[in-house]
Symmetry: C2
Subunit: 133 residues, 2 copies
């Protein structure tokens, strides 16, 4: 299957404070921002003018099942995202090629998601359409 | 000054092993790869076909001044890179706006580089031309 790098997502302690830094200090633009009921958290996608590169800021509150807080140094790298056409098949294919499982496929907010780990334990997100949609 | 997000760089324990994963398992292409005398290390830049997003893999050997090893969980997020026209001026501007200093400007391999920290302590690389070049 074809996998397309979509963005790198970092985890931040305080979403407003980080948006302020990347927007007001480094001049990036907030392209999308969304609360996520499944994580009780929120994310924001930012770009620089004239750049196709995207950076995602991820925030999870205390008590979210996605947050093993308190925030420790090293929590900053949240995940690296790849888009693909069929998340179930991709997940099986990558596991068969030796990737460790992070989280099996599940639907979230209109997308299928799954996670595997790279050789250093970095979470790789696979995202794609929900089958039948 | 205008800052353009260039890529996100992650730190890996074993460059060959990680290139093999991102290239042979996830289908990315190695765009550039370079040894860095200043760090005793090496980096590789990778893209997916059809994507403008770039991922940098950074590796530093034991004993490099850039490596505080052994590798700890959390070392994975190495830095986020922004291109700009004048690194000295950008560094001063960002410090004046409240960013913490990571490393003052220096020349490396034909580029000027400097580092500041984002609100969570993530290293932000500023890169640009060497003045007078």
């Amino acid at each position: 299957m074809r996998y397309t790098l979509a963005y790198v997502g970092i985890q931040v302690r305080n979403l407003e404070r980080s948006i302020s830094f990347y927007r007001d200090v480094l001049g990036m633009r907030v392209v999308r921002r969304q609360r996520v009921p499944e994580t009780d958290g929120e994310w924001a996608e930012l770009r620089s003018a004239g750049s196709k590169q995207m950076l995602e800021l991820n925030w999870y509150p205390d008590g979210s099942k996605f947050f093993t807080g308190p925030y420790r140094n090293g929590d900053e790298l949240d995940h690296i995202a790849f888009a693909c056409a069929d998340v179930e098949r991709a997940y099986g294919e990558l596991i068969a090629k030796g990737a460790r499982s992070g989280h099996p496929p599940f639907a979230e907010g209109g997308s299928m998601l799954a996670y595997v780990e790279d050789p250093d334990g970095i979470w790789i997100e696979l995202s794609g359409p929900v089958p039948g949609d």
